[in-house]
C-alpha cells in the first residue's frame, strides 16, 4: 500500500542567459529560480496494482519515484509505504522495493553480470535457497542464461536492460518501480520486458509503478493511469476511462475512384489527395455503418479502414486539455 498526501518538492535552479557578459554577471549575482517539481501530489496505490505514471518530460515523474524509493525527502507532505516513511526508514524500506532506472546502470561494468548478482545477494542478505530460486526463475523468464556470463560492457542495451531488471528483483521485492524501462529498446526486447512484468504482477502480486513515454507499455501493462503535469496530478483513472473520453471519434481512411470526394453530411474531411482521403466522424452523431453507407452512395469506394484513436493521440489530447 502506497499513500502519498500533499507532497511538495521545490528545487532551486541557477539560471542565466547565454553569453560571456552574462556569465561574468552571474559570478557576482546569481539568479535563482524556484521550480515546483511537485505540487500537492496525492494518490494511493493498493497492493498488486500496476500503475502507469505518465506525463511530459520534466513533469515530476522521476521526482516522485525518488521520493517513493527513499532517495529524496520532500519539502512537505506525507508518504507512507507499507507503514514506513521511505526516506526516514531508508534501509528497511529499500529491502522491500526494487528499482530500475532506465537511464542508469546498477551492474558493475567490468565484471560478468553474474558477479554483480552475487554481490547483490550479499548486499540484500538473500538466503542462498531463495537466491537460487529467484535467479533460476528470472533467468528463465528473461532469457538471460547465457548473457549472464558476459561482462556488462559487452552487452547490447536490450540484453543489459533485461539483466538490470533481474538485478532489481533478486531479493523478491513487493514493489517494483520502473523508470522508463523500455527506453531505447528494440521491439523484441520491449515485448520481452512487458511480458515479464505482466507475469511478475500476475504470479507474485508485485505492485508495479511504471513511468514511460511509450504508450504501448501503458496499454500492455497497466490497469490504472496517473497523469502528472507541472508537478500536479491531473488525472487518475483506468485506461478504459481515458479511452472512453476519446472513443467517440473514429478515423476512416478510404481509397476511392475519382479525384475529389463529394462532401458528405456529418463527416469531416481531414485530407483528400488524388483518390485517398482521411475522414473523421463522431460516433455520437453518426454511426460507422451510416457513414460508410453515405460515403459509398457519394463515391465508389475501393478500400476502407476504420481506426480508433491511438493511446498516443489520447495522451496528446490530454496534454492539450490540461495545457501542459
Amino acid at each position: 500500500m502506497i499513500e502519498l498526501s500533499n507532497v511538495n518538492k521545490t528545487f532551486k535552479v541557477a539560471k542565466r542567459n547565454a553569453g560571456f557578459t552574462e556569465a561574468v554577471k552571474a559570478l557576482f549575482m546569481k539568479k535563482y529560480e524556484y521550480i515546483h517539481a511537485l505540487n500537492d501530489v496525492t494518490f494511493t496505490i493498493r497492493d498488486g496494482e500496476t500503475v502507469g505514471y505518465i506525463g511530459p518530460n520534466g513533469a515530476g515523474k522521476s521526482s516522485t519515484i525518488k521520493i517513493m524509493s527513499g532517495i529524496m525527502a520532500p519539502d512537505s507532505g506525507e508518504c507512507v509505504i507499507d507503514g514506513r516513511v521511505p526516506w526516514k526508514d531508508r534501509k528497511a524500506h529499500v529491502k522491500e522495493i526494487g528499482v530500475v532506472f532506465g537511464q542508469r546502470s546498477q551492474l558493475w561494468w567490468d565484471v560478468p553480470v553474474i558477479d554483480s548478482f552475487e554481490l547483490l545477494k550479499d548486499v540484500y542478505r538473500i538466503p542462498f535457497d531463495e537466491y537460487k530460486k529467484n535467479l533460476n526463475r528470472l533467468t528463465e523468464l528473461l532469457g538471460i542464461g547465457e548473457i549472464m556470463k558476459m561482462p556488462t560492457r559487452q552487452l547490447s542495451l536490450g540484453q543489459r536492460m533485461r539483466c538490470e531488471i533481474a538485478a532489481s528483483l533478486l531479493h523478491g521485492p513487493k514493489i517494483l518501480f520502473l523508470d522508463e524501462p523500455t527506453i531505447g529498446l528494440d521491439a523484441v526486447s520491449k515485448i520481452a520486458v512487458r511480458d515479464f512484468v505482466k507475469a511478475l504482477n500476475k504470479e507474485n502480486r508485485t505492485t508495479v509503478i511504471l513511468t514511460t513515454h511509450d504508450m504501448q507499455d501503458i496499454e500492455a501493462l497497466t490497469d490504472r493511469i496517473l497523469l502528472i503535469g507541472n508537478g500536479r496530478i491531473l488525472m487518475d483513472g483506468t485506461l478504459d476511462e481515458l479511452k472512453s473520453r476519446n472513443t467517440s471519434k473514429k478515423t476512416l481512411v478510404i481509397t476511392y475512384a475519382g479525384e475529389k470526394l463529394p462532401s458528405v453530411e456529418r463527416v469531416a474531411v481531414v485530407k483528400d489527395i488524388g483518390g485517398h482521403a482521411e475522414l473523421v466522424i463522431d460516433t455520437g452523431e453518426i454511426s460507422v455503418a451510416e457513414a460508410i453507407a453515405a460515403i459509398s452512395a457519394a463515391a465508389e469506394i475501393k478500400d476502407i479502414t476504420v481506426q480508433g484513436t491511438t493511446v498516443d493521440e489520447m495522451v496528446v489530447s490530454l496534454y492539450k486539455e490540461f495545457k501542459i
Binding site: 525518488k66 534501509k91 529499500v94 548486499v123
Partner: protein, 267 residues
Amino acid sequence: MRQYLSFFRIRFTGGLQYRAAAWAGVATQFAWGFMTILLYEAFYRSSPDGFPMEFNALVSYIWLQQALLAMFMPWFFDPETFDSIVSGNVAYELCRPCDLYGMWFVKNAAARLANTVLRCFPIIAVAIFLPAPFNIGAPANALCAVLFPISVLLGFAVMVAISMLVYISAFYTLSAGGIKVLAVSVIEFLSGAVIPIPFFPDAVQTVLNLLPFASMQSAPFLIYVGYVTGKEAALTIAVQAFWLIVTLIGGRAWLKRALKRVVVQGG
C-alpha cells in the same frame, strides 16, 4: 559485515587485475626512493649534526613510504564514487539496504589495499638487501615492532576517512576538482609525505603533531624507525585513534546532512 566483505572482495579482486600498472609503479617508486635518498645523503654529508635522526633511520622511513605508497597517497580517489555523485548514479546506491558511508569507505580501502599488496613486497624485498646504510633497517626495538602494525592500520583508516570528506564535498560543488587539488597539496605537505615531520622547525612540529595529517603516514613510520618510542609512541597512537574517531563521526554526520538536501542529478 557480510555486505562490506563482499564490496571489499569485488573491489580488491578488481584492483589485483592491474599488474602491468603495478610493475610500472614499483619501478617509479624505486627511482623516486633512490633520488630522495641521494638528496638527503648530500645534506647529511654537508652537516650530519643538522639531521634530526640517524641517516639509516631516514632511509628506512623513505623505503616504507615507497612500499606503502598506495595506502597513504593523498591523490588517490575512486573515480567511480565521484561519477556516481555527479551523474546521479548514487540513486542506485541509495536504493541498497546498506550504509553509504560504510560502502564507500570499504570500496576505497579495498582499492588502496589491492594496489599496496601488488607493490609493497618487491620494494621491501629489494630494499632489505641493499648495502647499508641504503637498506631498510629492522624495527628499532620490540615495542616499535608491535606498535607499528597498529599504527599503520590507524593511519590508513584516517587517510581513507579524510578522503571521504573530499567525496562528500562533491555533493555540494558537483566538481570536486578544486577541493581535490587543495586537499591533496595540504595533506601531502603536512603529513610528512614531502619532507618528514622531524625536519620541520620545532615550533611547527608541535602544531603538526596535533593535526590529523601527522596521524596518517608519519606516525607509523616514525614509530618503526624508533624516532618516536616508549610513552611517546603510545601517545602518538592515542592521537591517531582520536583523529580516526573524529573524522569518522564527522564524515558520517556530514554525509547524512548532504543526503538530506541531496539533489540526485539527472532525470
